[in-house]
Structures are given as structure tokens and as C-alpha cells.
Amino acid sequence: MRLEPVADPGLGRSLGYPAAALGATVAFAMALALVAGADPFAVLGLMVKGAAGSKFALLETLNRATPLIFTGLAVAVAFRAKLWNIGAEAQLYAGAIVTVLLGTGALGLPWPLLLPVSALFAAVAGALVLLGPATLKLRFGVDEVVTTLLFNFIMLLFVSYLLEGPMKDPAGMGWPKSEKLIAEARLPRIMEGLRLHWGFLLALIAALGVWVVQTRTTLGYEMRAVGLNPEAARFAGLPVGRILIKTALLSGGLAALAGWSEVAGLKGSLTLDLSPGFGYAGIIVAMLALLNPLGVVVSALFVAGVFVGADSMSRAIGVPTYIADALTAAALLFMVLALLLARVRVRRG
């Protein structure tokens, strides 16, 4: 088998294959439903209804999409420069820790000053967490995939230590959870009575900001050049190391904002289950969006919808909610294959 690039893919190819990937994902969902002994159409219907069938469902999906936009952006920024940041989970928790540290009374700033300050320090913490693996990659050539993955486990244990030790809520009835944020440190809801906090709008603004950086600034151009061909970029005189460090700082900071917005906007405190894998799901979000920052918003809504819909469907007819994880993982694999097939022709021999 041989792959031949298609000179001009055309609209049919470049839309047809991704559409087929989406169709394959739906077919996979129906197959899983059949295996679970449920009516596939009922499962799909309940998932759509659970994700977007009511105002409550829709808001739930938007809330769930918020951290996914941030982690998706973090991954998109890094992957674009071929910096394989699989540690968004750790950076998210770093942001969450700082948010709790500053937001439980340690910093006596009046509303609305406390929020931007805590966001800034959360982002710095996340950036520093990724700076470690990025430095190891540049200094010693240590593969950042493995180090960022291993850091996720170290960070989770660190959070566990904090929640059972210095950051434990004395009034928490023994549960490993932090104190609640003071009111000045909380992100308010966008509208009174609407269960959606400002984190969502900030995530949209972040997506726009990343898009501007990537398409309208020198740094964006440099990050793309390094990702396309680091050797050529170095030959062209670009400071590849420094660009990768900047990329790491931006990526880590964005992932940390996911933790910040979850704690300040939704949960109000830190627990060990703050993130049900938002960092890993961010990889799926970014890849489905073809690493495009604006596309990240769309794919985060899709992935969030699948998860919220699956939760609701599972409560109704008992098909395990892990169907959502399986679907999004399958969607990722279908999509990367579809994007390739849109660009190449498969020849025998």
C-alpha cells in the first residue's frame, strides 16, 4: 500500500471524509448501545436530549465545555509547535491550587480585583509546571510526552497531600477537600438565575486571543514554523528553544485557567475529583478542531455535549456512562484517519 498526496483535495474530499468520520462515530455509538442491550436510536435520542434538549441541559453542556475549551486551547497551542504537552491535567490542578490559596482569604483584595489576580497567578503556576518538562526536553532531550504524563501522577498525589494536610477544610467532616472560596474570589453567574458562570465567556475570549496570537503575531508564525520543521526553523535563524519555552508557558497557563475557572466559577473549592480527565479530553478537543483555536470552541461543545448527554442517558436507561469516553476516543481516531484520507489517495503496491 502506498499513499499519494492529492494536489487539490477539493471541497468534496475535505468535507466528505470528516463527515464520514462523524458518521462512523455515530455508528460506533449505536453498536455500543446494541452491545449494552439497549435500543440504539433511543440511546442516541436520549443523549441529544440530555445535551441540548432543554435550557437546563444546554447550560450544563456550556458549563462542561468551559474547562474543555481551556485545556483544548492549551493542547492546540502546544501541538501546533510539536510540543507534546500531555500534562494539561497537572497544569489544571496547579491553577486550581493557586486559586484556592489566594481565594480563601489569604489575599484581601476587594471585588473585582481578586479575580484577575488569582487568574494571573494560576496561569503562572500552570506555566511553571510545564516549564519543567519543556526545559528537560531542551536541555537533555528528554521526551516531554513521558515527563508530562508522569507529572500528572505526581501532581495528583501532591493535591491529595494538600487536601489531607495543609489545605484541608477543618469543617469538611474529614473529607479531603479545601475550604470554600470567599465571595470576592468567585466568578459570578452571567445572569441572575442562569446556571452559567463568566468562565464560559472568558474561555471564548481566550480562544479568540489564541487565534489572534496564532494568525496575527510573529510569535504565532514562529510557533507554526517550529512545529512544521524545527531544523528548517533553526536554519532560518529562529530561536527554536526560546519559542518552545514561550509555547510551553502559554500552553501551561491556558490549562491552568481551566482549573481556575472550575474552582472560581463552578465548584468553589478544590477536591481530588475536580477534573474527570479534562486534561486528557483536551487532546481530543484540540485534535477534532484540527488545532484551530476557534475550532476548539466547537469541538469542546461537541465533546461536552457527548459527556453531558451520556450522563443523562445513563440515568434514564442504564447504559454505562463510559460510552461517552469510548465515543470521543473513537471520534479522535476516526477523525485523524479521515483528515489523512482527505489529503492522500491510497494506491496498491
Binding site: 513521558v146 508522569l150 501522577f153 498525589l157 481516531l333 485523524v336
Partner: protein, 314 residues
């Protein structure tokens, strides 16, 4: 000094070899993939799938060896998926690997919840018993450590020997190593790069799944969520530590496991009352990162690792 008492005790080394066994399977599995030029980040998910498959097969009434075989087959199936996407299609090994891990993990959890909807404590199985080797197991220190283990541990060591033999003493091994260094040259010899790499990824993934099955069939005797707990990622570090050589990787796994066994024992000692237990649990991960840094200078990475091969391009 208490630490020396620990290091000289037979139970400590027996524990180290036991902890090393699943890592040995998975590390050698990853090594085969990487020697052929394919980084397999599906390892973590494939280990989870293997752990569940082996356990569930036995729980459903199959004999123990059949459980191991089922795990092997499921691992090879995920390997076939990974291989198809990364070898003939040449897709990003990072993205596909993580996708396979996410898919294998979620499919496993989905199946587990389907099979056992309402269990709070997972049922246990009658796992592999220890098979003490006559005479040898009576040797001091070495006996209990090496010759009074379960059959799967013996299989782990035998696998390393077999893989080392195939890699360095057979034409197929030569072709496999060459395909990870210079695939064009292998193609010029009239051999199929695709077939060699696919075979390596499938065989390696099968071994990863058997490594996962060790956890449920020879260690914990039941399956629970997150039981693999990053072991797959650690194995990727162990391959680097072992410089892509089977016996060195085995040594790395045993050394690593010894530290892990020591860490568990230190928690019971006076120091464990002072230092939070999470610090001890961080040690394996920190140690893996340290190993990567130390070995980075002298790493002999296969030249074509992560480089897809397409006959169309020269």
C-alpha cells in the same frame, strides 16, 4: 541500620521480582514496538484492557492459562488498530497512541460496568499460585526471590530471553532492528516494512496486555479502576533506561521495582510517620523522570523511531 536488614531479606527481593514482573512484560512489549520504529503510547490503555480481560475470562469460568491467552489476543487486537493507523497510514504516533489508550481504557470500563453493573467490591478470582522450583527455591536469598514465584513471573523472564534471542540471533530479529533504523534499506532487501512493523506492534501490544493481566491474575486477584496507575508510562521510561536492550530493560524493571518495594516498607518505618505517604507514592514517578534525565545523554534511540515510512516517498 534497618534499611540494610530490608535489603538483605528474601521477602524484600521476592516482592521486588513480583512487582517487576508486569513491568517486564510491558517494557519488553514496548521495546519490540520501538525497535521496529513505532512508539506505542497505547501501552497504558492496553495494560488496563489486558488486566480486565484476563481477570474476566477466569471469572467467567475459563482456566487461568486461557485467561492469559485472551489478554494476549485483546492486546494484539489493539496493537493491530494502533499499527494500522501508524504504519501503513503513517499517522502521528503520539496522537494515535493516546487515542488507543483512551479507547482501550474506556472500552474496558464500559465492558466492566456492563458485565458487573452493581458491585461495590469487585469479585476475586482464584489466581495463579506460587510454583516453587524444587531444590533451587531452597537457596538462601536467591531461592525465594527467583524460584518461588508464580508461573507468570517465570514466563516474564522467559519472554525476555526469547525476545533477546529473536532480536539478536535470528534473521527476523535483524530485519526488525533494521526496520527501526533504516526502513528503506529493509525494503530494498525485498522485505515488507509494513508487515515487519505491524507484526512488532501487535506482538508488543500482546505482551503489554499480558503485563496488565499479571496484575489481576497474579497480584491483586481482582480488577478495579485505575489499577494500572501509570505503570504503562513508567515502562516507556524503562525502555529508555534500558537503552532499548531486553536484558538491560529487565534489569531496569527489577531495580525500579526494588525501589518501589523499599518505598512501601519505608512507609511502615519511623520515617513513614513523619513524611506524608503521598511523597512515597510519588517516588516511582519521580524516579522514572530521573532515569530519563540520567540516560538521555547516552540514549541509543532507534534512528527511525516515530518516522513513518511511505514507499511513495524517497
Amino acid at each position: 541500620m534497618e534499611i540494610f536488614d530490608i535489603l538483605l531479606s528474601a521477602t524484600f527481593w521476592a516482592a521486588a521480582i513480583r512487582i517487576a514482573s508486569p513491568l517486564i512484560f510491558a517494557t519488553v512489549g514496548e521495546l519490540i514496538c520501538e525497535r521496529a520504529g513505532v512508539l506505542n503510547l497505547g501501552i497504558e490503555g492496553i495494560m488496563i484492557a489486558g488486566a480486565f480481560t484476563g481477570w474476566f475470562a477466569v471469572y467467567s469460568g475459563l482456566p487461568l492459562p486461557a485467561g492469559v491467552l485472551m489478554a494476549l489476543l485483546v492486546g494484539m487486537a489493539f496493537g493491530a488498530l494502533h499499527g494500522t493507523l501508524t504504519v501503513p497510514f503513517g499517522l502521528s504516533q503520539h496522537v494515535v497512541g493516546l487515542g488507543v489508550t483512551l479507547l482501550a481504557t474506556s472500552m474496558t470500563y464500559f465492558t466492566y460496568r456492563l458485565a458487573l453493573p452493581e458491585v461495590t467490591s469487585p469479585p476475586r478470582i482464584e489466581a495463579f499460585a506460587e510454583w516453587p522450583v524444587p531444590v533451587l527455591s531452597d537457596l538462601p536469598l536467591v531461592g525465594p526471590a527467583l524460584f518461588a514465584q508464580t508461573p507468570l513471573t517465570y514466563l516474564a523472564f522467559a519472554t525476555v530471553a526469547a525476545v533477546a534471542f529473536v532480536l539478536y540471533r535470528t534473521p527476523m530479529g535483524l530485519a526488525l532492528r533494521a526496520v527501526g533504523e533504516n526502513p528503506a534499506a529493509v525494503e530494498a532487501q525485498g522485505l515488507s516494512v509494513t508487515a515487519l512493523r505491524m507484526g512488532a506492534v501487535m506482538a508488543g501490544s500482546g505482551l503489554m496486555a499480558v503485563g496488565g493481566a499479571f496484575l489481576t491474575m497474579s497480584a491483586f486477584n481482582s480488577f478495579f479502576f485505575e489499577m494500572v496507575n501509570g505503570r504503562g508510562w513508567i515502562c516507556i521510561a524503562l525502555v529508555v533506561f534500558g537503552a532499548w536492550k531486553p536484558w538491560k530493560s529487565l534489569l531496569g524493571a527489577v531495580l525500579f521495582a526494588a525501589f518501589d518495594a523499599l518505598q512501601i516498607r519505608l512507609q511502615q518505618m519511623p520515617i513513614g510517620a513523619v513524611v506524608p505517604y503521598q511523597v512515597f507514592l510519588m517516588m516511582p514517578f519521580a524516579l522514572s523522570i530521573l532515569a530519563l534525565i540520567l540516560m538521555s545523554r547516552r540514549a541509543e534511540v532507534p534512528a527511525a523511531l516515530m518516522v513513518p515510512y511511505n514507499k511513495g516517498e524517497r
